[in-house]
C-alpha cells in the first residue's frame, strides 16, 4: 500500500533566507501539510509568518482567535494564509522558534481553497502579548490547483539559521 503521509520536501536553514519556496509540487496527493519552526530577525519578540500559492499575492483572507497569556482576541489578517504571531523574533528568548502548521485540503480541486492554521510562539516571558497561540481559518479565493508554496514573514528581513520548513503530501487513495 502506498504511504498515506509522505515528506515531499524540506529546508533547514544553515544561513539566513528571506523566504522559502516549495515548487513543482506533485499532483499526486489529496492534501498538503506545511510545517515550520521559525525565527526571524524582526526587531520585536515575534513576527507574522504566512504562505502564498502559485506566486499569487492576492485573494487571501484569514480569521483568527488568539490567546496572548492575558486575554483572548479575534481578528482578521490580510497577508497570505497566516499565523500573525507564529514566528519568534530577535528579542524572543534565545534559541526559541515559533511552530506553525498549515493544513491544505484538496489542493488540486477547481474550487476556492480553505486552509487550517495553528501557530504557537512560546517565549518564556512575563510580558503581556509576547507569547501567543493562534488558530486561524484561512481562505484562498482562487480555483487554481496549487503547484507552489512560498513561505514569507512580514516584519523581519530574514528567517534565521536553524529555522526549518517541511512540506508533506497526504493521499486518500
Amino acid at each position: 500500500m502506498p504511504a498515506t503521509y509522505t515528506l515531499i520536501s524540506s529546508n533547514v536553514l544553515s544561513s539566513s533566507a528571506a523566504s522559502i519556496t516549495f515548487s513543482s509540487i506533485p499532483a499526486t496527493y489529496t492534501d498538503l501539510v506545511v510545517r515550520a519552526s521559525a525565527r526571524t530577525d524582526s526587531a520585536s519578540s515575534r513576527d507574522a509568518i504566512y504562505i502564498e500559492f502559485n506566486g499569487s499575492g492576492s485573494s487571501y483572507s484569514n480569521t483568527f482567535v488568539r490567546g496572548t497569556s492575558t486575554l483572548a482576541t479575534s481578528g482578521t489578517y490580510a497577508f497570505g494564509i497566516a499565523s500573525p504571531r507564529g514566528a519568534d523574533g530577535a528579542t524572543a528568548t534565545s534559541n526559541t522558534f515559533g511552530s506553525v502548521e498549515w493544513y491544505i485540503p484538496n489542493y488540486l480541486a477547481s474550487t476556492n481553497k480553505p486552509v487550517s492554521v495553528f501557530g504557537v510562539q512560546e517565549n518564556n516571558t512575563t510580558t503581556a502579548n509576547d507569547a501567543n497561540i493562534e488558530a486561524v481559518a484561512g481562505l484562498w479565493s482562487n480555483s487554481a490547483a496549487i503547484t507552489s508554496i512560498v513561505i514569507k514573514k512580514v516584519d523581519g528581513t530574514n528567517f534565521v539559521s536553524g529555522s526549518s520548513f517541511y512540506l508533506y503530501g497526504i493521499s486518500n487513495a
Binding site: S61, F64, P114, S116, N172
Partner: protein
C-alpha cells in the same frame, strides 16, 4: 512495518445529503482522524458528531472561537451530540469549510475525547473554532456520524484515517 497513518475510508457526496457516516471501524489503530471539507446548500450550518448511533444525552464540549472581531468561549453539557462548529459553520458556495476531528484512543475502555478544528473563513464572514468534545461511554467507537440539519452540496468530502502508535 505497519503504516502509522492510513486511510480507512473516504466518502464524496454525489448528491446532496445531510450526513456522512463511517461504520464498521476496526480496532486496529490507536487514534482516528477525520478530515471534512464541506459546503452547505442553503445557509451556513454547524456540524454535529455522534458515535455508535448513540442519540442519548451523553455528549459535552468546550469551545474557543473567533469571528474576526470577538473571541468567545462556551460549553455544552448533556447534549445528544457534539456540536462541531458555531462561529465557523459550513459555508455556502463558492466557499468550502475545513473541519478536522481527532478522536483519541477510540477503541479503549474509557470515556472518549476528541479535538475538533473548524475553519470557516468566507472572505468577510465566518470564523474559526477549536473544540474539545467528550462522549461519556466506555464502548469502543465503531461508527462515526457527521451530520447537519440542512443538506451538504455535491462534492462534500470526508476521509477517515487511522493512526497507529505501534
Amino acid at each position: 512495518m505497519p503504516a502509522t497513518y492510513e486511510k480507512i475510508a473516504t466518502t464524496t457526496l454525489g448528491s446532496a445529503q445531510n450526513n456522512i457516516t463511517f461504520t464498521s471501524i476496526g480496532s486496529g489503530y490507536t487514534d482516528l482522524r477525520i478530515v471534512f471539507v464541506g459546503q452547505t446548500q442553503t445557509s451556513a450550518q454547524t456540524v454535529f458528531l455522534q458515535y455508535n448511533a448513540d442519540t442519548g444525552f451523553n455528549y459535552s464540549n468546550t469551545v474557543i472561537s473567533g469571528n474576526g472581531s470577538t473571541a468567545a468561549s462556551y460549553r455544552n453539557t448533556g447534549n445528544n451530540n457534539i456540536e462541531g462548529a458555531t462561529r465557523a459553520p459550513v459555508p455556502v458556495s463558492p466557499n468550502w469549510g475545513l473541519y478536522t476531528f481527532d478522536i483519541f484512543s477510540y477503541a479503549g475502555s474509557t470515556y472518549k475525547t476528541c479535538l475538533i478544528t473548524a475553519n470557516g473563513d468566507a472572505n468577510g464572514s465566518g470564523g474559526v473554532d477549536y473544540n474539545v468534545g467528550l462522549w461519556r461511554s466506555t464502548s469502543a467507537i465503531t461508527s462515526v456520524k457527521i451530520f447537519n440539519t440542512n443538506n451538504w452540496s455535491t462534492g462534500t468530502t470526508a476521509t477517515l484515517y487511522g493512526i497507529l502508535k505501534a
